[in-house]
């Protein structure tokens, strides 16, 4: 935790949107995430393998989606001030080749705790208007 880059608790209001981002996931994004994370499950780069297990084709790593959601929150919160982060993976994000899957991230103040000066940030993550993550929540330690 670092007080220097933490957002101010004063002035935050429930329902306030603190950050938004539109991200285009491409096959390049998936290869890059595989290398950076060490998650080399072939369903994230090989269509034949993905289809053999019943998927429409290559899908994004759930953790790439969650990691990007965290980045959206952290751009506002400061990277070391997210003390708790959770989500449920509701539906996969198929990533076409060529092309991209366009995903919308919206981070909103869900609740505020005066005693601990923490804000619960709820992140909505949508592909074609459907939620891909459920209960995506970050607890942010504020200054």
């Amino acid at each position: 935790m670092s007080d220097q880059d933490a957002p101010s608790f004063e002035g935050l209001e429930k329902g306030q949107i603190v950050a938004t981002r539109e991200v285009g996931f491409t096959r390049d994004s998936l290869v890059r995430y595989a290398g950076a994370s060490g998650d080399f499950n072939p369903i994230h780069y090989n269509d034949v393998v993905a289809q053999s297990v019943g998927l429409p084709g290559v899908i994004a790593h759930g953790m790439l989606t969650m990691g990007t959601a965290a980045s959206v929150v952290e751009e506002w919160a400061g990277p070391g001030n997210v003390v708790d982060l959770q989500c449920r993976f509701a539906r996969p994000i198929p990533v076409p080749n060529p092309g991209e899957a366009t995903v919308m991230f919206t981070a909103t103040v869900g609740s505020l705790d005066d005693e601990t000066r923490t804000a619960r940030i709820d992140v909505t993550v949508e592909l074609d208007g459907q939620k891909v993550l459920v209960k995506a929540q970050a607890l942010v330690s504020c200054a």
Partner: protein, 148 residues
Amino acid sequence: MPVNPDAQGRSYGPHEPYEVSRAKIREFADAVDARSFAHRDVDAAQAEGYADLVAPSTFAVVIAQRAEFHVVQDPEVGVDFSKVVHADERFTHHRPIVAGDEISTTIHIDRIVSRGGVSTVTTRAELADLDGAPVATVLSTLAVREDA
């Protein structure tokens, strides 16, 4: 075949500590579109009060997944990795991870539930520094299909 319910309660590790490098933090930050200079520039990170480059908050998965591998690979647990989907994930940070950290991980199988042709396996990775001080707790649930 369902996942072996008797594996609930098992623990693995700690294994060889993971050394957090500046290069890996930069690479991971690029991959998840994390835009803070504190992931890339040591002076910027120190100006914000960190000892070195600070990791994005889901970076702990890099370390936790290495530990989860021991669970998935254990034939007595019986996870067929080709039938796995990630169901949920949670990170609790006891302090930020910074470059130069050496982190050891112990992983616990907290819960195994088999119902309706699907087994869910919840693991808890406890990340600690070399003095044993807690760094992060990573909860992960995998859903494993038993058929097809």
